[in-house]
Symmetry: C2
Subunit: 137 residues, 2 copies
DNA sequence: TTGCGTGCAAAGGTTTTGCATGGCA
DNA sequence: TGCCATGCAAAACCTTTGCACGCAA
């Protein structure tokens, strides 16, 4: 996991540690860069993008594109896939990306496969709408 | 529908005619620009974006960010979007966008609202996965 | 005439690439 | 030592914005 075949560097270790600690959150490349720019030993933007690319490729990080002009969001999920199945719900009003844990998800997955032949990759799907807080506000 | 309250221009007519003829396909802004750049009377990129923005706002065009990443995709749906609810399923293998009619959609919509407070805008959501044809191939 | 629509140019912001340097094995 | 990783700078990219002009009503 992480770096395939190459060297293991200080930047890789620190980035991975930060991502692991942020499991379940959604971070942009800018968030990560800002976090490390405060440290004594910052990590270059290029390196962040290149490492994220690798991690997305090997499946330990997921990448979401929410709106154009906005930056992509990255979510650490780890190789162990410990995360319970959950919806990603993007509130179009406040802009937050919510996690909704729900067993309906598995049911829908099964339905789509058995009745429509579609093997749904639910981890990649983002549901757009308006969250409860914004509806009540 | 199309332009609210303002003037009706040549560009609006031609763009709308092209979109109507492309119903069911997804086009990028570049696709549209390229199509008109070949004509005697091209349409400026700015105008294309601004008209698409209007059409998305009034609901006759939907905008998708497919994980292809770079540019947004636009799909003309017209005024008849009050028909049976259907999923948009994007096959990650063949690239097609499938329309899956299913009343489970309404059930999920109701569940998300009542149990999670989330008012799902199902028309904007794209389900990623692998379609039946590609799975059997 | 009024003022919206158009489109060129330039800005805005995110992500990628070129290339010299640094660091791991 | 060999080679990959790093990171600065600059490019590439899509999309938006500023502004003067044109055109519909």
């Amino acid at each position: 996991m992480g770096s395939r075949g190459g060297y293991r560097t200080r930047q890789q270790e620190e980035l991975l540690a930060f991502l692991r600690a942020s499991r379940g959150e959604h971070l942009t490349a800018a968030d990560i860069r800002d976090h490390f720019s405060g440290c004594d030993r910052p990590i270059g933007t290029t390196t962040i993008y290149r490492q994220l690319e690798r991690l997305v490729e090997d499946g330990s990080v997921r990448r979401y594109l929410l709106e154009t002009g906005d930056s992509a969001c990255y979510e650490y999920v780890g190789a162990d896939q410990l995360n319970a199945p959950h919806f990603h719900c993007k509130c179009e009003r406040c802009g937050r990306l919510l996690h909704v844990s729900c067993e309906e998800l598995s049911a829908l997955e099964a339905h789509l496969l058995s009745h429509h032949g579609f093997a749904w990759n639910s981890g990649k799907t983002v549901f757009y709408g308006v969250c409860g807080e914004c509806r009540n506000a």
